[in-house]
Symmetry: C2
Subunit: 170 residues, 2 copies
Amino acid sequence: MAEGRGAQGYGGESLLFLTDEQLRQGIEAMFFAYRGFTADPDRILAEMAYGRAHHRAVHFISRAPGTTVNNLLAILGVTKQSLNRVLRTLIQDGLVESRVGKADKRERHLFLTEEGVALERILSDAQRERMRAAFREAGPEAVSGFRQVLEAMMDTDLRRKYKKLKEAGS
Amino acid sequence: MAEGRGAQGYGGESLLFLTDEQLRQGIEAMFFAYRGFTADPDRILAEMAYGRAHHRAVHFISRAPGTTVNNLLAILGVTKQSLNRVLRTLIQDGLVESRVGKADKRERHLFLTEEGVALERILSDAQRERMRAAFREAGPEAVSGFRQVLEAMMDTDLRRKYKKLKEAGS
DNA sequence: TTGGAATGTCAACAACACTGACGTAAGCTG
DNA sequence: CAGCTTACGTCAGTGTTGTTGACATTCCAA
């Protein structure tokens, strides 16, 4: 991409990238890219009886094993009833294990079973492959910018949660 | 972000940005950022009887006035039954006008009415404001990288459509 | 110990996607 | 012109994922 690195003469204070047209292109880029982002896992999930919500749950349980339902709720941003339906099927199907909390028996701590780990791997392999290809094509500096913009686009509380996960996974 | 611009010593051929952990962070960044991306319009739409699907339709009709149903279908990537449900309510409510094609009378060309333009403006103002803030915070180079990565993440046919829109809106 | 808060479950409903089938009007082709 | 295809609309049925409302259990603090 030749126009990548400020070759057009903005000296650092130019606001060309903030025109309505540029912003609209950014919006459409998000829309189309997100479709690509979810396409591969969606294809896989469609063959099973699962959907995108199952993927999200499995992903974050994998990322933070032993997390409570409440914590997962905050990260996913759905109602507990909605999450519960998903968790119920995952537990019934033996992909997720729910253990009653020791300190607080109201809490349920969530873990992936072996089978759950296997599904997570299949899904995230597919999604990572897409991300890897995009990263490789765009290059390290673009990746850095990509993440900066995305981070700035998050709601502040989600941004906090995102950074927390980032540190945890260092 | 101190680590923003390749300060960590990768010389251009380092693949640190392709580690599984980096990819996973990219995936989570997409997830959280998309939530922020849709949050403001969703709030507005919730107060009316409309949803995200209506927003998408209105956006792309605004972007390409006179577009046909078939074209919109290809861009949105949904079935005609699904689009039709949305379009029907928008037409009934007087936000969208559907005109029979002159050259080909089978086609319906879609336009926003004044009222439709007004709604589109409210929604896109909210969304653009979020995008503007993110762009400003991240800076022009980051924005360039952001768009490069997103473009690389799209399916090839969507990428074509995205570029077409981009050129049209020059 | 009792009342409120936190945690999680069950039931019913709405939005929005899907498939499949069908109908109509218009264009195209042999 | 006859027959096939295209573009669009619609009806019916289904699945996923979100919502609210009601309720049980557990913890904690007044």
